[in-house]
């Protein structure tokens, strides 16, 4: 039994390898398409992000193709729905790898990124990026093929704390900080880094509250917060709810602390909802906002969206994130082709890590450095009731 089972396994393994390495044309010579796949959470509770990211990748790739593709290579885009379910996502990715032979795949978050890592590595010809800024995904032994199109949660928190620290130094009085964290990876990881950084800078964390992700009733939490009379309350791990209600009750309870957040928590849906109650959000954003006019790539983006989807009224963080990821995919491909190398993982990894002072067309403010598989920069913005927008409150900070 065992022996012939082993044989079967061997043959099976062999066929698998064949399947993976079947296509191997001297890539640069004939103008083969570059295939970019994506598993977006287009349905389910992350759909607001997934729909945007799907549009973004499609838009960017069309735009790029219209302007000549990557050194004459056309780019083919395959976007599918993962519903933010690991099963479905994995099925999608496996199918994609099998049928489309993509060189790059956009993934919907860390659970999926982790779950497909092995298969992706096994192909040896695929690089992945996507949502989630979890530090875990930078582990080079497990995920050498993956990169983050922005700073890790940790880095963003670091930026925020640095900012608070500077203000404190300038004004001379040390603010009392309270953390309100949603009980999920993004929240807890940020929470950890915020605390670590605060300790380093000697900023006192007076309260550390953890809520469930879909918390509805927050009265007890506010009561708890009230006792510690914070000057700054940092919300982590919330796209929107229950922050507005939380802040509203804070005010009723006489807490007039400044409200802060980072990355996914500083998008329009959040600052608009807060603004409705006359609140002014402050937070770290790794990119420029969609309405920013100082970035030429952002202008291009806006114009393209206006052309293909006039009904889309704003450009969300998730859209920018995916668009930038598309840019990075193409940049990696371009560098490989320039060096006349096939799109194998080692080559692509090398290309990625060679990206040091890369102009993202201003999306990231500073020139991007992806040598560590992430872009460790961001800027603090503050809501301005006059312009009804988030306006820069600091310069671009690299950590």
């Amino acid at each position: 039994m065992t022996r012939n089972r082993r044989q079967v396994l061997k043959t099976a393994g062999a066929t698998a390898l064949l399947g993976a390495s079947a296509w191997r044309p001297a890539f640069a010579k004939d103008k083969a398409d570059i295939v970019i796949g994506a598993a977006h959470p287009m349905t389910g509770f992350m759909s607001f992000a997934g729909v945007a990211s799907n549009y973004a990748m499609g838009d960017y790739i069309n735009w790029r193709n219209q302007s000549g593709g990557v050194l004459g290579h056309k780019i083919r885009y395959v976007g599918e729905d993962s519903a933010y379910k690991v099963d479905q996502g994995v099925a999608v990715v496996k199918k994609m790898i099998a049928s489309e032979k993509p060189s790059f795949i956009f993934l919907d978050g860390s659970p999926l990124s982790k779950a497909v890592a092995r298969d992706v590595l096994a192909t040896g010809t695929v690089m992945t990026g996507g949502f989630s800024s979890s530090e875990a995904l930078l582990d080079q032994t497990l995920y050498p093929h993956h990169f983050l199109s922005g700073p890790t949660f940790g880095a963003t928190c670091q930026i925020l704390m640095e900012y608070i620290g500077r203000i404190a130094k300038a004004s001379g009085n040390v603010p009392k900080i309270a953390l309100v964290t949603s009980d999920q990876e993004w929240g807890t990881e940020s929470n950890f880094h915020l605390k670590a950084r605060a300790e380093k800078l000697g900023l006192p964390i007076v309260q550390d509250i953890v809520t469930k992700p879909t918390g509805v009733d927050v009265t007890s939490e506010v009561a708890k917060l009230r006792r510690s009379k914070p000057d700054i309350v940092i919300f982590q791990g919330y796209i929107m709810n229950p922050v507005p209600e939380f802040v509203r009750q804070m005010r009723e309870a006489g807490i007039n602390a400044q409200v802060m957040s980072t990355t996914y928590g500083v998008d329009r849906i959040m600052y608009d909802a807060l603004a409705k109650n006359g609140e002014r959000l402050t937070g770290v954003m790794p990119y420029r906002y969609g309405y920013d006019t100082d970035s030429k790539m952002m202008t291009t983006m806006r114009e393209y969206v206006a052309k293909v989807r006039p009904q889309q009224e704003s450009i969300s963080l998730f859209y920018i994130h995916a668009w930038l990821t598309g840019m990075i995919f193409c940049e990696v491909a371009e560098r490989c082709i320039k060096a006349n190398k096939n799109l194998t993982l080692p080559n692509m990894k090398a290309a990625l890590e060679s990206i040091k002072d890369w102009d993202t067309g201003g999306l990231t403010g500073l020139l991007a450095d992806l040598s560590t598989h992430q872009i460790k920069s961001g800027r603090v913005y503050s809501y301005d009731p006059a312009s009804k927008r988030m306006e820069p409150a600091s310069g671009w900070i690299r950590v």
Binding site: T219, S220, V222, K224, N241, R248
Partner: protein, 293 residues
Amino acid sequence: MTNLYIFIEFVLLGLLASGLSALIALSFVLVYKGTHVVNFAAGEVMMLGAYLYYTGAVVLQLHPAAALFISLVGISLVSVAIEAFVLRPLAGQPTISILMATIGMASLLHGSVEIIWGQSPLETPALLPRFPVNWGEVMIPGAAIGNFVISSLLIAAVVTFFRFTQTGIEMRATASDPVTAASLGVDIRAAQRMTWILAGLTGTLAGTLIVSSGSVSPALASVALSVFSVVILGGLDSVTGVILASLIVGVLESLTVGYIDGKMRDVFPYVVVLAVLVVRPFGLSGTHEIERL
């Protein structure tokens, strides 16, 4: 001294929060009493009601009260439909079938809501004025009191309805012994239909109260799941039981947040529930079904 105040405050907040959960729990109990089904679609019905309220108040620009009325009417119709097209055909089927049917309903409603209104949260106008209360060191936020008062009034209304109105009494009769009730000329179908409507209404009111302090999103449905601890603790078929249980759980949650950790908030009640199950399998005051051969 302050410590005492803190304690009082958390207890008070817990008690006030229990109003809403009692209201939701009530909608479970009504259905269980009437039809011996745990209605897993309760959360979705609640959510649908809230969305109807949103549609009325925001899309149609109606007065919140009018919007609420519309959503109540809408939910009554939905409840009737559920009863007629899903549960009536399944009458006499084993428990699991009926349980699964309600889960199917839940999925159906959830999907439909997402198709119609999308998944992202939508702003909803406030239904009640917010009047925060300060009492010495103790401070009660705006929404809490209003919600509690309204919910307790509603619960009281439902209870009186069952105690004193003809329909209510007939419904109780049907619940306890359908055959006899029928033989005494009670229209069982009507009674059961009424049960579902009533459950739908209580759910909708709870849902609307919740969302009227901010925004509505499909996540609202999961609130019903978190009320299960109350339902088990109180006993599936005991109104007084769940009222008592919701008070206990409310205080428990509030104190957990206050003194232990917000993370524990969800799970702590369930630990208590499992413990209680060991001692009182049918909850605090659920009736022990007498076995017959």
